[in-house]
């Protein structure tokens, strides 16, 4: 043999030579180790007497190509399984990638080269199993998330309905009361509850629970206030920039609007006049809610901070909660303009989604701040 056996002996791969009748001519030490068959035992014997898989006609045809066409042939573990099992069944089953090439030495020979891919195969199998586990976990998480969203949606829907029921009860109670002052207080209470209800309505519709489109929410609050206050003749002009707010901030803004709105209806001749409501972003992280009526304007020496009106005190508390300022001034050509400049909370971490986010404001009797 021209190929030096000492070279082939030292190659860290399984190498053996076979002639056209598939009789083994050379068997290297690596093959001895991997199969448990010593070279002297297999040399000069047909390959298929040790490895019956080589009696397969498909394999025979392909190996014949090596001799007839001198084309190399590849045999893989996934298509053929282990073609060279170790005679000791307790030994590790190896994954071989076998290449057979033609060799003239000077007789025609086929040189078999077995590459051990056991480690690669194990790693791939483990990676696939890990991938399958992750996919399964992801599917479970998606299902859980979907369940949670449905639950939140249901909760907001029910809370909205319950609040509407409470508002209806207050209205029924109000109808039995003749005293105008007491009726007005019932009316204010109903408006406040409806602003809560509007928030849950908006959350329920949007299916996003940690942030609210303030424009959509405020327009719902306005529509409910118009309805509950019976403002059929009032023209309400809404100019609302789209502005996403954390749910809690949106709630404070809605309550402030409810107070300013009912205040304008009471004192600003809005019942048969005009109200303009605007929401605009004034700088990054800051926005302004304004409400303007065409009423008689502010009384002389008006000071919102000293007002005993519960509504104005509540609006002030909401302004504090929003890290904002509430101011009133004369509108042009007449009437009153209320402005609430506030922090949109964009730079602050968002509040986790929870049905409990719509907690009621602090007790208005407590000190501001």
């Amino acid at each position: 043999m021209n190929l030096s056996p000492t070279v082939l002996d030292r190659i860290p791969a399984g190498i053996f030579l076979a002639d056209g009748g598939l009789v083994v001519r050379y068997w290297n030490p690596c093959m001895e180790d991997w199969t448990g068959i010593p070279a002297p035992e297999i040399r000069g014997r047909p390959l298929d007497s040790f490895f019956p898989a080589f009696r397969d006609p498909g394999l025979r045809i392909r190996i014949r190509q090596v001799f007839e066409q001198q084309t190399p042939v590849v045999l893989t573990y996934r298509l053929h399984g282990n073609l060279f099992p170790n005679r000791d069944p307790t030994r590790l089953e190896r994954v071989f990638h076998t290449t057979i090439a033609y060799l003239e030495d000077p007789d025609p020979l086929a040189i078999f080269n077995l590459e051990d891919r056991t480690e690669v195969s194990t790693r791939i199998r483990e990676a696939r199993e890990e991938l399958d586990r992750r996919r399964e976990a992801e599917t479970r998480l998606r299902a859980a998330l979907q369940d949670k969203e449905l639950l939140f949606q249901e909760i907001h829907h029910r809370v909205k309905n319950n609040l509407n029921t409470v508002a209806s009860l207050i209205r029924l109670q109000m109808d039995t009361v003749r005293d105008e002052e007491a009726r007005s207080q019932f009316q204010d209470l109903e408006s406040r509850i409806e602003s809560f209800s509007a928030l849950h309505e908006t959350l329920y519709r949007s299916q996003v629970y940690d942030r609210v489109d303030a424009a959509e929410y405020l327009s719902t609050v306005t529509a409910q206030l118009r309805s509950s206050l019976g403002l059929r003749e009032t023209h309400v002009a809404l100019t609302l920039d789209s502005l996403e707010l954390p749910t809690k901030r949106a709630l404070h803004l809605g309550l402030a609007l409810a107070e300013l709105f009912t205040n304008a209806v009471k004192y600003g001749d809005a019942r048969e006049g005009t109200l303009s409501i605007a929401l605009e972003r004034i700088s990054p992280g800051r926005a302004r809610l304004s409400l303007e009526d065409r009423g008689p304007g502010l009384p002389e020496n008006f000071d919102a901070a000293r007002s005993e009106s519960l509504g104005l005190r509540l609006a002030g508390i909401m302004a504090d909660q929003l890290e904002g300022t509430l101011s009133f001034r004369a509108a042009v050509p007449r009437g009153t303009r209320a402005e609430l400049e506030f922090d949109t909370g964009e730079s602050k971490p968002s509040i986790p989604a929870s049905p409990g986010n719509s907690s009621p404001p602090e007790d208005p009797r407590s000190p501001r701040g």
């Binding site: 190399p72 045999l75 090439a101």
Partner: protein, 200 residues
């Protein structure tokens, strides 16, 4: 019939012979029945092949074997990687179709399938035209068309014999291309041999 048509007829005959042998070997070896067809054979320039293989960003998987002797070049069996994965999984009865590329074991299986098909085609051509060729062992390549062409140094090739190949396994239909790249000298020798083959 003009010489060009005669050569093409001879080529179609050789490729059909090779495809038939490949199908026979695959069916002897695999549990699933596999049908092979080569409905379209053409010779085009290497430049035109770049456009033909351009998949708009999809990755390609190729089994490649170099050959040398009377004619020299590279033979490749090329699939879109996703199609190659489907073919391998269908043949081995495993399901990993969601994966984009081929891992080492799946690439090995594709190598063996490509090896069978290329051996059969090149064997038919070399046996019938009496070319004595030697081959490199098959290797697997994956990437976009440009990467594949650069990796196989195909710029040196002037012409390409391109065989559209359709694999049908169970309900699956997978389309691939066998590309045999030839230098100008090799193309002329092939044409001369085909002229001789046609006249027999």
């Amino acid at each position: 019939m003009n010489p060009r048509d005669r050569r093409m007829d001879a080529l179609v005959e050789l490729v059909t012979l090779g495809i038939g042998q490949a199908a026979e070997v695959l069916n002897l070896m695999l549990d699933s029945h596999i049908d092979l067809a080569a409905p379209e054979i053409r010779i085009l320039s290497a430049e035109a092949l770049r456009d033909t293989l351009d998949t708009g960003g999809d990755r390609l998987s190729a089994v490649t074997m170099r050959y040398r002797g009377e004619i020299e070049g590279v033979s490749e069996l090329v699939f879109r990687s996703a199609e190659a994965g489907r073919l391998v999984d269908c043949i081995t009865g495993e399901e990993h179709c969601r994966e984009e590329g081929l891992d080492a074991l799946r690439a090995g299986t594709l190598c063996e399938v490509g090896n069978i098909v290329i051996n059969a085609i090149m064997g038919a051509v070399s046996n019938e035209l009496h070319f004595h060729l030697t081959y490199s062992v098959p290797s697997y390549l994956e990437g976009e068309a440009g990467v594949l062409m650069a990796e196989t140094r195909l710029e040196e090739a002037q012409a390409v014999l391109l065989v559209k190949t359709i694999f049908r396994v169970q309900t699956l239909r997978i389309e691939g291309e066998i590309a045999v790249f030839l230098s100008m000298d090799s193309l002329q020798r092939l044409q001369a041999a085909l002229d001789g083959y046609g006249s027999v």
